[in-house]
């Protein structure tokens, strides 16, 4: 006995005529991909923005730290130059000299120096360094005003 289903089978010729042309509908999958891409992009942007904000915050913290260190260094510079000014002040020098039993000179005498002797001494010992000869890092050789000017100009260059 033949299967009843077999009776539903269409003859090949008839099937060609009756079967509708079926095509893949790509629209829905494309939308899904599109939505997924947008989501991935959005997530990436969010992650990127978060990373960027984190980096900015890190940089800002670093800037704040450097700024605080700079201010602290400037304060220390002011304290040190005040101490130096006290140490170099005539009143302290006179006090210290008096404590050592020294008294102000009552006479001053000018001694003529042979120019040849002077030239020889300079040639043998070298002259005191001039400002032009001073390389960065050897600011201790500058006088107090020039040191101060250097630090002050650095302050105006800070962000």
């Amino acid at each position: 006995m033949a299967s009843p289903l077999r009776s539903l089978q269409l003859q090949p010729g008839a099937a060609d005529a009756a079967r509708p042309q079926l095509t893949v509908v790509p629209g829905r999958r494309r939308m899904a991909w599109f939505a997924m891409s947008v989501m991935v992009l959005a997530a990436g942007l969010l992650l990127g923005a978060t990373y960027l904000h984190t980096r900015i915050a890190e940089r800002q913290l670093e800037i704040d730290r450097l700024d605080a260190a700079f201010r602290s260094a400037q304060e220390e510079f002011d304290v040190l130059r005040a101490e130096r000014a006290v140490l170099r002040s005539p009143s302290r020098l006179a006090e210290q000299a008096g404590a050592l039993g020294m008294i102000p000179g009552s006479e001053s005498e000018f001694v003529p120096i042979d120019p040849m002797l002077l030239a020889t001494v300079i040639a043998q010992t070298g002259q005191l360094p001039t400002l032009d000869a001073i390389v960065p890092g050897s600011y201790a050789r500058l006088d107090p005003l020039d040191q101060f000017r250097l630090v002050k100009s650095t302050g105006t260059e800070a962000p």
Partner: protein, 623 residues
């Protein structure tokens, strides 16, 4: 091949039979009721639509509001929110530094702190008061007062101590005690102690200049404060890491003075000694660069109420004016020479006293009528002879002579403030020649009947040292701008008063004053340089208008103005002693003031690097 049967298959048959059987079942259809309008808003569909509309409107409103807050309209809320959790406080700007001519600091600001409390936030008043007492060294009474304030909690801010040094301030800040604030507050210090205090002046506790150059250049020295924002948690504690400098403070500009710290120190030291030794009231010294008018030292000292001679906080050298006495004869003699009415060798018969108007005017000592040259008149400091020189200028017209003389005194800078324009500076007193009456008309020739400050008198005599050209004194050599660049100050203004030839003649005469006249003590101990100068022993007017004090003694004002090297003047120095002892030999300018000049000169020579001239005159001891 089998063809499909036209009869329905068994499957089809059975299906259609079941369908037919189902159709046969009869059931009562539920009654479809018409939609009821329970709320008067139509049917459910209509209500849903209405609800949707309301939601859209509400959401739209919310969205618009959020959009506005996020874009343009949110500033108010942001500020309100920030006010709740953040505080902005001022960052004080450093006040500019004051340097001397060699770049040494005379006044500068160092970091310091102000310690304050907010009693309302203090959780343990007793512990807080004890901690602050230990850190700040408060007395028991002050600590008790502080404790009372903390317990009362009726104030939100109380200063505990200001101008606290850096180490102490940082130690207190490290305690992180509730309600204790430690704020930056720069401290103004003078590293040289009292040196130059009269000129530099003072700042108050808030850092504002209130005297001297600190007051005169207050706007220039004062910086622009910045601001710092902190976030605070409930309870008043600051959130770590929330500190943000909103605007950095901009430091003030800096001044470079013409003062030389070493000369200033030595001038003050010698003056204190001299005033102390003479039991005088006060004294001033001016040291001036002859060519430029730069003031190298400007010292003022005074005996205080406890009989201790100290450097003054006020610059008496610019503020107080006295009758200069015989130093003013230099002006009269130079004017006569410049007018051509006299020469150094012109002679006058000079009595020791002469009646003018209601007063009998006298020389300092009795002498017979004497034929004196103009040079002698200056060297021996004859009052009567100087009046004769004054009267000679008008070619017989007395009023004309007085007018000419007055014009010269103005030309030498008397009667008006100097270019220093120092706070409280006195213009002195120089009445117009038409306003002078009686003997005043002639006493001005020898320095009585007018008043001048020390700086005026030094600048006047410096005109002679500078070959006849008046140079306005100046105290500021330059400034340092925000970029650290030095900006030199404008050179002093100048004007010619007498010719170079006349100035050189007067220099020579002043050299004789030191060589063989009243100023000889100014040369003592100076072996390499020739000093020229003029002594002055003025009488000091008393409140009753006379020159006698309550004890019936004359009150003197002794001074000496000189310059060196006499052959090529480079430095002019004025020394004045106020109220030297009346009955003592040291009441005169030549005895009270000139020795200080001699003591100070070596320091000036050393600091200024002045090289002695190759040849000195007959008074010089070395050549």
């Amino acid at each position: 091949m089998r063809t499909p049967s036209a009869a329905p298959s068994r499957l089809h048959r059975s299906t259609s039979q079941r369908q037919r059987q189902k159709r046969r079942v009869r059931a009562e259809r539920p009654e479809v009721r018409p939609p009821r309008d329970r709320f008067g808003l139509g049917g459910s569909t209509a209500r849903l639509r209405l609800l949707l509309l309301v939601l859209v409107v509400v959401l739209g409103y919310v969205l618009v509001k959020v959009g506005r807050i996020q874009s343009t309209g949110g500033e108010y809320y942001r500020e309100a929110a920030e006010d709740q959790w953040s505080r902005t406080r001022e960052l004080p700007a450093d006040r500019g530094t004051i340097f001397d001519r060699d770049g040494e600091e005379l006044a500068l600001s160092v970091p310091g702190y102000a310690v304050s409390v907010n009693p309302k936030l203090v959780t343990n008043p007793e512990a807080t008061a004890r901690a602050l007492q230990a850190a700040l060294g408060l007395s028991d009474g002050d600590a008790r007062d502080l404790y009372d304030e903390l317990v009362a909690k009726d104030k939100g801010f109380v200063y505990v101590q200001r101008q606290v040094d850096q180490a102490t301030g940082e130690a207190i800040a490290a305690l992180r005690a509730n309600g204790v604030n430690v704020d930056r507050e720069p401290i103004r210090v003078l590293p040289g102690g009292e040196t130059g205090r009269s000129v530099i002046g003072l700042t108050n506790i808030d850092g504002d200049g209130i005297a001297g150059l600190e007051a005169q250049f207050d706007d220039f020295l004062t910086g622009t404060p910045g601001s710092l924002r902190n976030d605070f948690a409930p309870g008043g504690r600051s959130v770590a890491g929330s500190e943000e400098v909103v605007a950095p403070p901009v430091p003030g500009n800096d001044l470079i003075l013409t003062l030389d710290r070493s000369i200033q120190f030595e001038a003050e030291r010698l003056l204190v000694d001299r005033v102390d030794t003479l039991l005088a009231k006060s004294g001033t010294i001016i040291v001036m660069d002859t060519d430029t008018g730069d003031v190298l030292a400007m010292a003022s000292v005074q005996r205080d109420d406890e009989d201790v001679v100290q450097i003054t906080s006020g610059n008496y050298a610019a503020v107080n004016a006295y009758e200069p006495g015989s130093v003013a004869k230099v002006i009269t003699i130079a004017a006569g020479l410049n007018e051509g009415s006299v020469t150094p060798d012109s002679t006058f018969v000079v009595p020791w006293r002469r009646q003018y108007a209601d007063d009998l005017l006298k020389d300092s000592h009795q002498h017979p009528d004497e034929l004196m040259t103009v040079e002698q008149i200056l060297v021996e400091s004859s009052n009567i002879g100087t009046i004769d020189v004054q009267m000679s200028m008008g070619e017989g017209e007395w009023d004309r002579a007085r007018e000419i003389h007055w014009n010269y005194m103005r030309g030498f800078g008397l009667g008006e403030k100097t270019a220093l324009d120092f706070p409280g500076e006195s213009p002195g007193i120089l009445k117009h020649w038409t306003d002078l009456w009686g003997s005043e008309r002639v006493t001005v020739a020898y320095g009585q009947g007018l008043a001048s400050t020390s700086i005026q008198l030094a600048a006047a005599v410096n005109t002679i040292a500078n070959d006849g050209t008046y140079v306005a004194p100046r105290l500021v050599a330059g400034t340092v701008d925000a970029a650290g660049e030095v900006v030199p100050a404008e050179p002093s203004t100048t004007h010619e008063v007498v010719s170079q030839g006349v100035a050189e003649e007067v220099q020579r005469m002043m050299r004789q004053v030191v060589c063989r006249g009243t100023g000889s003590r100014a040369q003592q101990g100076i072996t390499n340089f020739s000093v020229a100068g003029k002594t002055g022993t003025g009488l000091k007017a008393q409140p009753d208008g006379g020159y006698y004090n309550e004890a019936g003694e004359l009150v003197y004002y002794a001074s000496f103005v000189g310059f060196f090297p006499a052959e090529d003047p480079q430095v002019t120095v004025l020394v004045s002693i106020d109220e030297p002892p009346a009955g003592d030999i040291n009441r005169f300018g030549g005895t009270a003031a000139a020795p200080v000049f001699a003591d100070l000169a070596p320091t000036i020579v050393h600091e200024q690097g002045i090289v002695p001239p190759a040849v000195t005159d007959e008074c010089g001891q070395a050549g």
